[in-house]
Amino acid sequence: MRIYPIRTRRLTLRWPEMEDAPVLVKLLSEPSVSRNIPRIPYPYRRADAVKWLRQVRRPRFNPSFGRGYDFMIEMDGAVVGCCHLSWNLKERRAFFGYWVGKPYRGQGIATEVSKGLVDFAFARLGAQRVWAMAFAENTMSRHVLEKAGLMQEALLRRNALFHGRWRDDACYGVLRREWRGFR
């Protein structure tokens, strides 16, 4: 199965290249992005970007999430953020996540990415379920997931300690029979 690239109306989700390190540093040096995403360090340095790029450019497998794929989100030739898709073949279940750089907010990019990944998972991978998580306090992201057709299924209280604060995790999901197709 060929995964890269995934195209949506305005966006290309493509393979991360080593040359993406500077743009990652630029976009992730803005704290309002990384404060909502577990595992993104802050301050974000070039070494963090290089380490991440090395990791994601190798095939990865996690026993519960399955095979993991990371993408650079490109619009009009500029990197505007990143997204992720995991595919657990045994459970026929996909998981996704995303972040969008501050200069590119308010243009529906996260929603377009989410719909694109949901479509891809159901149409191309044959997923039976697609799910995602957001910190409960991240209302913007929760709204995006709802627009992409997911519904809230669980609220895991104090599930993550991040930047010194306990966060609740909201879990969202959509089933194949509920999926309408966004294209």
Binding site: N62, P63, S64, K90, E91, R92, R93, Q128, R129, W131, Q152, E153, A154, L155, L156, R157, R158, N159, A160, L161, W166, C171, G173, L175
Partner: protein, 161 residues
């Protein structure tokens, strides 16, 4: 342990347990744990046998996520030993150990929908249903809902007072 685990009712609600469960499965599990707790991406797991009056009646274990200070518990009680509060007593002991000794912020468990016994045990540990991940897993050829239960450190300590 093999006769306790070789039980269709255990297999129905615990996806991790093979069915039929044979000595060979047990031997493989023992080999894997010879070096101590199993190290996984999600954390270290600590298995225990449950003994009552010198007899093994089940097992219980927890996985410790040090970064988020969370303990994920799971247990099995043999068919002949059910309905005596054994799982409840063991789960309370593990919850107490996690909160007191490990300073866990959260103790949690997952239950396959349809398992009627386990929610009672978890509620006796002060756990609350936090949600249901719909059709999250394939088990015995069907998609099954996974219920998430948890108790917070503050809630457990309040109960112990």
């Amino acid at each position: 342990m093999v006769p306790l685990l070789n039980d269709p009712e255990v297999a129905r609600f615990i996806p991790l347990i093979a069915h039929p469960y044979t000595r060979r499965h047990w031997a493989a599990w023992m080999r894997k744990h010879r070096g101590g707790p199993e190290r996984r991406a999600e954390g270290l797991s600590y298995p225990f046998a449950i003994e009552m009056d010198g007899r093994v009646v089940g097992n219980i274990g927890y996985r410790w996520d040090a970064k988020d200070r969370a303990a994920n518990i799971g247990y099995i009680v043999g068919k002949r030993y059910r309905r005596q509060g054994i799982a409840t007593e063991a789960a309370r002991a593990i919850t107490d150990h996690a909160v007191r000794d490990l300073r866990a912020e959260r103790v949690w468990a997952t239950v396959l929908k349809g398992n009627r016994g386990s929610p009672q045990v978890l509620q006796a540990c002060g756990m609350r249903l936090e949600g249901v991940l719909r059709e999250h897993q394939v088990h015995q050829g069907r998609r099954v809902d996974i219920e998430y239960y948890a108790v917070l450190r503050s809630e457990w300590r309040r109960r112990r007072k």
